[in-house]
Symmetry: C2
Subunit: 250 residues, 2 copies
Amino acid sequence: MSGCVTIVGLGPGRVDWCTPAVQERIASATDLVGYDRYLDLVGQSTNAMRHGSDNRVEAERARHALDLAEAGGRVVVVSSGDPGIFAMASAVLEQLDQFPDRWSDVAVEVLPGITAAQALASRVGAPLGHDFCVISLSDVLKPWAVIEQRLAAAAGADFVIALYNPRSRHRPYQFADAMAVIGRCRSLTTPVVVGRNVGRPDESVRVVNLATLDPETVDMSTVVVVGSSTTRVLQRPAGSSVYTPRTYPG
Amino acid sequence: MSGCVTIVGLGPGRVDWCTPAVQERIASATDLVGYDRYLDLVGQSTNAMRHGSDNRVEAERARHALDLAEAGGRVVVVSSGDPGIFAMASAVLEQLDQFPDRWSDVAVEVLPGITAAQALASRVGAPLGHDFCVISLSDVLKPWAVIEQRLAAAAGADFVIALYNPRSRHRPYQFADAMAVIGRCRSLTTPVVVGRNVGRPDESVRVVNLATLDPETVDMSTVVVVGSSTTRVLQRPAGSSVYTPRTYPG
């Protein structure tokens, strides 16, 4: 009898931000499949076999999980954040789409998690309190021209913009280009929230603006939220709060 | 001594989709403040005093929560979904912004939750697997022209689009107008996922497309996800799966 693949999101890394539904699936799994670093974030003891792999082998990892389930396993594919947002859920469905005659008896389920933009937003207040976009700046799987077009559209229509995978060692200059595209439609005083490893022990969260944002503080472990024209910064005793009002003028 | 206000998100309604961090804050609260219907979703017993209110009094509710905290309470403001996404976190920060000399000793914290678009996406696969926008169609707090401009920008740049507050009794016709704006840039076969009360006992999730979408099936308890040009539907034994590939052509 075939088993099942459940693709789960741990949230940003803090055990108490991982939903009980996800914790239950992990507890009853026969196999945990994932990027080594995310398997390390599983905060509970389990008897499951762990199948760790490198970051850049999503397709192979998805097929491996489906094969384990076809052999009868209760397989859990572990993502950080939300598995449906730039993560493993699409990778598993892509394999099912590509090989329609394989794994047809395997049940597939997705369980959501808190994604990095939500975690970062909560740390400073509510910068995502109004219409927003979520964009990955990685051009490994899409052309940079598409990214620039989306940034321009999002900035032009005054969305708050959350940026994933903002800057890597292999593409250190595109982040500044992206900020320049946004800057064509936004004031230099627009609030920008930069979060690194949010929800982990070495979390760092900074509130800057388009003028003072230093690309060197941004890497692949960072999420960046650029405010809209209405996003505001409050100075409170505990630090800066950032929010986007629910009301839009006009 | 002043207390604190924690604005929490229960997630979509299922107790096991509510994070332990949120459950812990609710358990130790002296006061729970929120829209009556959301207070009813609190799935745990607590000794806190409950201060329920109507849906349309966010500003008063926020001031009430801050006043209770100023008097020393450990106050939890309860939202469904994520409190930072079209919910109470911005409403509380708006009050702090408007009255800078009040409540300065009150600590304010936000704890994220699974928002409706994530819950809906997980039910069908991974339609939010690539760049996406989240837009409220309510024109109570922003002009309809801004909404149309954002829909056109998002559709033109081929974002997946998640729509909150899509259609109410007071504005029954705008939803079809919104779909028409999107339809100018999208094929009629574009997948659309319609979810009502996702995560609750009476959950309903349907996969349709721009041609077969019936506005009558959409109301204020519904979230709608409109795919991009690359979003795909798979027919599987358990039903339709929808995902947006991580790769974008070009």
